[in-house]
Symmetry: C2
Subunit: 155 residues, 2 copies
DNA sequence: TTATTAAAAGACCTTTTTATCTTTTAATAG
DNA sequence: CTATTAAAAGATAAAAAGGTCTTTTAATAA
């Protein structure tokens, strides 16, 4: 449904929305470590997101990635479109080429409302609104294992 | 969410449920053409489904694939389990490693009910019941383009 | 009992996705 | 103006998914 690349891109962009600003740019490395994704891979994705005007970057000392005011108005679906294209997420759950309400696959009428629901969420909120909601509701934004668990003593 | 392999396997098994019987076995080639999937690939999947006791086969003249009475009691989730394993379909929509209701990803509470719904459908109906429902409700079971469209005259 | 048929087995190939590494470019702090 | 920093670019590699082909095995009809 979503490629790993899109998932990384979404999580990282939302992370930028929460933690970066024009004055406080963040390096790939820092983000990759926070989200727990391979940083060279994320670097590639970020290049593409910059080209797609989803995020912004500057080089050099204190450079890094951040969201401009325009970037903040984008939504999550823009990220998906930029990385996976829209076809992938819109395609039939069972893989049928011609699946619609007049010619439905066996699970069409279960999948359709779900898709509308989740795509609505990805389309109707700006990145900034989405990020705020995530902060407010305390949603998880990392691939890391967060369980406190037993800390193996290091020595 | 589902690999292409799983999708092919589900469609083909449901096709067997509808069109085959112990007396009327069907060859890979015939099924592959009906569903419109690559037949050597489907052959591999069928070998695995036979090993997993989801479908049955016999070699030789008038041999082919069919569903035994026991096979007919399996469900779609058994197919998915056999091909993809259960982890894949149960994994978090955003790819988080630790996503559950106490530590939810940003779309957890949208995805969860959908998953319960669709997994329920895949678990609670036997293959045979599922196939009947599909016939009764007139659901599509092929990757083929079915649009009547304009038939390009061949000569 | 033999020829034929169709699945089983397994080697192999291709494409896509994911991930890494090295070099170049540009920004800026000093 | 130079050293340093961090992204951009691009080449490359590794893994997974998808797909093909050839040989072997087993069933059965004649």
């Amino acid at each position: 449904m979503l490629s790993r690349a899109s998932k990384y891109a979404i999580l990282s962009t939302l992370f930028l929305a929460q933690h970066s600003s024009e004055e406080r740019k963040i390096s790939v490395k820092e983000i990759a470590e926070s989200i727990d994704v391979p940083s060279p891979f994320l670097a590639k994705l970020f290049q593409q997101l910059v080209r797609g005007k989803i995020i912004s970057s500057t080089k050099g000392p204190h450079g890094g990635f951040y969201l401009s005011e325009k970037n903040k108005m984008k939504n999550v679906l823009d990220i998906i479109e930029n990385i996976d294209g829209l076809n992938k997420i819109n395609s039939c759950f069972m893989g049928l080429n011609e699946c619609d309400s007049t010619n439905p696959c066996p699970v069409h009428f279960i999948v359709e409302p779900f898709k509308n629901n989740i795509l609505g969420k990805f389309r109707d909120k700006t990145i900034m609104e989405f990020a705020k909601e995530i902060s407010d509701k305390g949603r998880l934004l990392t691939l890391k294992d967060i369980s406190p668990s037993f800390e193996e003593p290091h020595e």
